[in-house]
């Protein structure tokens, strides 16, 4: 037979070499076509007496097989639960048939029946369904490239490894090791996988097929360990095993602690491990597929796949980049300012392989950017994560200077000087005087409108805003802000630069705070208001954590400092004058900053107390003296709802005002900008999930109880009336 998604070459020993090579795709994945063809090959393998065994490899340089096609999974349309299960079970069923050679487990265990041997030659990354295919083979040879990733990352998009991963891996390496690998979704490398027993052999890349064939030839009668008599679960399993029971309970506690119960996949994976480890493999695989079906039919996986995979990838590939503009070649970037932001930008730029000329007023100041990167690299070298040689080369790409003339040959400017319009105006003029006429000038600012800054530029069409977040090397989001006169070339350049530093970009409108800083302040302000209302600070912090926020809003405010909040409030007041509207937090900030000196962690105290090293201790007990605790505390659900909806409403307003022009940008910006609960897929995905009408109703109810700030924009009311959604129904 011939196939479209793979070739089959049978050698003189009767060993079929199956080379998976999806046409027109850069990477092998389990897509509809491969799913349709692979079972046919398994049938052929079993029924064709000329085939004695098989070796599976990949025809792609990019890797072995990267898992399931998430676009396919996200759009699978089963009309009944039973049908959804059959779809989910298809891969399990095929792989199991390959593993048993079509025999029953009973016949295998009796020792009489066996399968034709199947080995795999893993030439590159094997993730998700790719590793699961390998695990269903009787023998696994992997190329000796330490960069090869072997892993089951499904949990990161709200799914579980549904091709036998939750069953075969623990049967190979034990529940604890398998549980950690599947729950965290982090890939391992060939050497570690060999040591753990996930693979059998490592060989030079050009020998893996030969080695695999040798094994097939030498082992004509194959059976997986769990199909052999006397199989014992490594490390123990089952509800009576004193080694396994604490493991189940501990794993559940760790998983709850980390997920707060917001990620159904985490629970489902644990259940697959728990229930599956008590069952024979065939039943266990069915149970796995049932939990997979459960996840696929719920909103969390759908939202996570859409935002964290599909939309994130599209954004990073430059979906919003204007077409028809040739990519900007970036050899050298000029960074203006070597403060915290400038140093971070210098670091990520050099990390992206570009040379950086970083300019500041004094040599000492400019050197700070070099020291910043050196500190990070030294740590990596000392931890064995980078060679000294590579660190040296990295550092050599950074040149500090005080001389504007050194910028004359740069391909891009990123300005990150002090957030002061006059200082910015000055460096814009000095820089434009020396750089090439075509060079794009990007300004990193979090507060100053780009259009205003561009007025200082001779070439406002080449002027654009880039909003980095601090610390730059850690924060994944970047806001790209075209000013009124910004041209497409500048916008394209921003994307081309971002492609090198690999952040998640969103394009936002040039308004005060852009997107993330429009939504985030009302959120922390809501937490502060609750404190002033007499709600227990611990309840507020826990509610946020349970909602899925990475850190409590009060702890976070201590980090960014209450002083900053106070200063922003003052400057906003000045800027808006009579138009300024009290947000209710003014008196509180005044008390904390001016009267109590509890200005944040940097100042030694804030909402929390801190020790001399700045480590967070307990919440400050004295708050009650200023804001007595309510006798009747609200329920945690009420607090969660306020903290959630204040973010949803602010996002809705931004969407309504086209600060973000599409739901994707809003969702990506929220999750990667301020850590909005990732399981929701972002605020707009959340609104879609509960339904726009339900969102409007809840918001109105909150507005009645807590104030007009919860009132949703008219355009959302209209959508609710019309029954519209933001994303196409999945």
């Amino acid at each position: 037979m011939t196939y479209k998604t793979f070739t089959v070459d049978i050698d003189s020993d009767g060993i079929a070499l199956v080379t998976i090579d999806l046409p027109g795709q850069s990477m092998n994945v389990w897509n509809g076509e491969l799913m349709a063809e692979f079972p046919k090959f398994v049938d052929e393998l079993i029924s064709n007496d000329d085939i004695k065994g098989a070796v599976i490899t990949s025809g792609k340089k990019s890797g072995f097989l990267a898992g399931a096609d998430l676009n396919m999974l996200g759009s699978s349309a089963a009309s009944t639960t039973a049908e959804a299960f059959e779809q989910a079970f298809a891969l399990n069923s095929t792989l199991r048939r390959m593993e048993t050679g079509g025999n029953t487990a009973k016949d295998m265990l009796k020792g009489g029946a066996h399968a034709k041997p199947v080995a795999c030659a893993i030439n590159g990354l094997a993730l998700g369904g790719g590793l699961e295919l390998a695990l269903a083979c009787h023998y696994r040879v992997c190329a000796d490239n330490p960069k090869i990733q072997l892993g089951l990352p499904e949990v990161q998009v709200g799914l579980l490894p549904g091709g036998g991963g939750t069953q075969r891996l623990p049967r190979l390496i034990g529940l604890q090791a398998a549980g950690m690998m599947i729950m965290q979704g982090k890939p391992t490398n060939p050497a570690a996988a060999l040591a753990q027993g996930i693979i059998h052999e490592i060989a030079p890349a050009d020998e893996i097929v030969t080695k695999a064939k040798e094994w097939v030839k030498a082992n004509p009668k194959a059976a997986a360990p769990w199909d052999k008599k006397g199989f014992k679960f490594p490390g123990g399993a089952g509800s009576m095993d004193p080694r396994a029971v604490p493991m189940y309970m501990g794993a559940a506690a760790i998983a709850l602690k980390q997920s707060k119960g917001n990620y159904p996949a985490v629970k489902a994976i644990l259940s697959c491990l728990y229930e599956g480890s008590m069952l024979p493999i065939d039943t266990a695989l069915r149970v796995e597929s049932k939990y997979f079906t459960q996840l696929l039919s719920g909103p969390v996986a759908r939202n996570m796949i859409r935002t964290l995979f599909v939309n994130k990838q599209a954004a990073e590939k430059g979906a919003a980049r204007p077409e028809g503009i040739p990519p900007l070649e970036l050899k050298t970037v000029g960074v203006l300012g070597a403060g915290l932001m400038g140093s971070g930008i210098t670091h990520v730029t050099a990390k992206g392989g570009m040379n950086v000329i970083v300019l500041d007023r004094s040599e000492e100041d400019a050197q700070k950017a070099v020291d910043y990167t050196k500190k990070i690299l030294d740590k990596r070298v000392s931890r064995g994560k980078m060679t000294q040689e590579k660190a040296d080369a990295f550092l050599a790409r950074i040149t500090p200077t005080t001389d504007y003339n050194d910028l004359k040959d740069v391909d891009l400017i990123i300005e990150a000087v002090f957030e002061n319009p006059e200082v910015k105006a000055d460096v814009i003029k000095k820089t434009e005087a020396v750089i090439g006429k075509d060079v794009i000038f990007a300004s990193n600012t979090s507060t100053l409108p780009i259009t205003g800054l561009a007025e200082n530029s001779e070439r406002p069409d080449q002027f654009i805003g880039l909003h980095f977040f601090s610390p730059v090397e850690k924060m994944p989001l970047i806001e790209i802000i075209p000013g009124e006169k910004t041209g497409d070339k500048a916008l394209a350049a921003a994307f081309d630069y971002n492609a090198r530093i690999r952040k998640t970009p969103i394009v936002v409108k040039d308004v005060r705070g852009f997107f993330t800083n429009r939504v985030f302040p009302p959120y922390v302000n809501e937490a502060m208001l609750m404190v002033t209302e007499g709600i227990k600070p611990a309840l507020i912090e826990n509610a946020a954590l349970h909602l899925g926020m990475p850190i409590g809003p009060l702890a976070l405010t201590d980090e960014t400092t209450l002083k900053l909040g106070y200063d922003i409030m003052q400057s906003t007041k000045e800027a808006l004058g009579d138009a300024y509207v009290d947000n209710g937090g003014e008196a509180f900030l005044d008390l904390m900053v001016n009267q109590l000196g509890r200005s944040g962690r940097r100042f030694g105290k804030g909402f929390y107390d801190y020790d001399d090293n700045g480590n967070r201790l307990d919440l400050w007990k004295g708050m009650e003296e200023h804001y007595p605790l309510l006798e009747d505390q609200p329920s945690v659900e009420e607090v969660k709802e306020r903290l959630l909806y204040i973010q949803l409403i602010a996002t809705a307003e931004c969407y309504d005002e086209e600060v973000v022009s599409d739901p994707q940008s809003a969702d990506l910006g929220a999750i990667f900008g301020w850590g909005f609960a990732p399981y929701t897929g972002g605020p707009i995905s959340y609104i879609d999930t509960v339904g726009v009408d339900s969102f409007v109703r809840t918001a109105d109810s909150l507005a009645q109880r807590h104030g007009e700030r919860f009132s949703p924009p008219q355009s959302f009311r209209d959508m609710a009336d019309k029954g519209e959604t933001f994303y196409k129904a999945a």
């Binding site: 009576m240 309970m249 794993a251 559940a252 506690a253 998983a255 709850l256 602690k257 611990a538 826990n542």
Partner: protein, 403 residues
């Protein structure tokens, strides 16, 4: 409905639940049989009068497995006609067994029955039967389950009991237990246990440390801090259910928690006619009984609700109870109960409890009912309420009055 009366109560002394404990060499079957034999013999019964035996065991596996009560009545030389049932309501098993016996009498099913229990924790360690569905992630994620020690520390945190508070309670428990033994207050119920050659192997509770003081307890490290704060981090699980708390203070340790021991107990329950017929004098009437479920994460606050339910069913209130007995699973459990029920410390666990003498899981409920009955008689009190906190968030209570 027929009234149920307590005619007698017998218990073994409690042996240290370790391999160097005095009762370690005594099988669960033998220990149970000695107690069941004694309650029969000291009431001049032949055994056939006793129709049914409800017997509690919390780890009913291995030698304690199957229906240990049935094996024990046979071993004790009861006639083959005496049936038995295995009872498991975790730490409430012993009292539940008495309540089952009483219910059988009240309903008219039997005239005379025994409720009791056994736990040889040195021989069949806690958890030997697995943890059932508590290891199932589906339940753990739904109910935020944590180990009991975390729950006890959660109670202390939620209701503001400091390390000194719980330690002071433990010191007092030791003092009271020592005094009770010194004055022979347990004599009426204690059955010295003999070995296979008939020599007495244990006649007093072995675990007690009368010299315990605040200083010696202060030297002990909190037992549940590591599992709560570090690995696997149960505190965060508990805080999902109790988000108003910033963190959990770990105050409990081996010295202010119930001790691990071996022991068995039996309570003879029957109707009025049985007493008349077999020439036995009823010592107390079982006024009311109650079992409840409560919030499973904090888990150990059930006694308050069980007591309230038992009081309500009896048409009584707390002020009608002369003395109280609450199993000292953890010091904070008793402190919380006293606070919630407005019970003065002088009226509860007057002869100490499980912190000093130990908690043989399946037997304790029957033991503390006997203890409180002896105390009522000694001090001429009329009413008593016995209660226990129970794993999984449950509580059980029984009210008795002297007749």
């Amino acid at each position: 409905m027929t009234e149920a009366y307590i005619y007698d109560a017998v218990r073994s002394p409690r042996g240290k639940g370790k391999s160097d404990g005095a009762l370690h060499e005594i099988t669960a079957l033998n220990l149970s049989a000695q107690v069941l034999g004694s309650v029969r013999d000291r009431n001049g019964l032949s055994g056939e009068e006793i129709e049914d035996v409800a017997f509690g065991t919390v780890s009913p596996v291995g030698e304690q497995g199957a229906v240990i009560g049935r094996m024990a009545v046979l071993q004790a030389g009861y006639p083959e006609t005496t049936s038995a049932i295995q009872v498991n309501r975790f730490c409430g098993s012993g009292l539940e067994a008495v309540n089952i016996a009483a219910a059988k009498v009240k309903s008219g099913e039997t005239d005379l029955a025994i409720g009791g229990g056994v736990e040889c924790m040195s021989r069949v360690p806690m958890g030997s039967d697995g943890v059932g569905g508590m290891a199932d992630p589906q339940l753990a994620f739904q109910e935020y389950l944590v180990p009991q020690g975390i729950s006890a520390d959660l109670i202390a945190t939620k209701y503001g009991y400091s390390r000194d508070d719980v330690d002071a309670y433990a010191v007092e428990s030791q003092k009271r237990a020592a005094k009770a033994w010194d004055e022979g207050r347990f004599e009426k119920s204690i059955l010295p246990i003999v070995d296979v050659i008939g020599e007495t192997i244990l006649e007093t509770d072995e675990l007690m440390r009368p010299q315990t003081d605040m200083q010696s307890l202060g030297a002990l490290n909190p037992a549940f801090q590591a599992m709560g704060e570090a690995m696997p981090g149960f505190n965060d699980v508990a805080l999902i259910r109790h988000p108003e708390l910033e963190k959990i203070n770990h105050v409990h340790h081996a010295g202010n928690s119930s001790g691990i021991v071996d022991g068995s107990a039996a309570v003879l329950v029957g109707n009025k006619d049985a007493g008349d017929k077999y020439d036995m004098k009823p010592r107390a009437r079982i006024v009311s009984m109650a079992s409840i479920g409560s919030e499973p994460t904090i888990m150990l606050t059930g006694p308050e609700f069980a007591a309230q339910k038992a009081l309500k069913r009896a048409g009584m209130d707390a002020s009608d109870i002369d003395i109280w007995e609450l199993n000292e699973a953890f010091a904070a459990v008793v402190l919380r109960f006293m606070e919630a029920m407005k019970v003065d410390h002088s009226e509860i666990n007057v002869n100490g409890g499980a912190i000093a003498m130990g908690h043989p899981l399946g037997a304790t409920g029957a033991m503390i009912l006997g203890t409180v009955l002896d105390e009522m008689e000694r001090t001429n009190k009329q009413t008593a309420l016995s209660t226990l906190c129970i794993g999984g968030g449950m509580g059980i209570a029984t009210i008795i009055e002297r007749v």
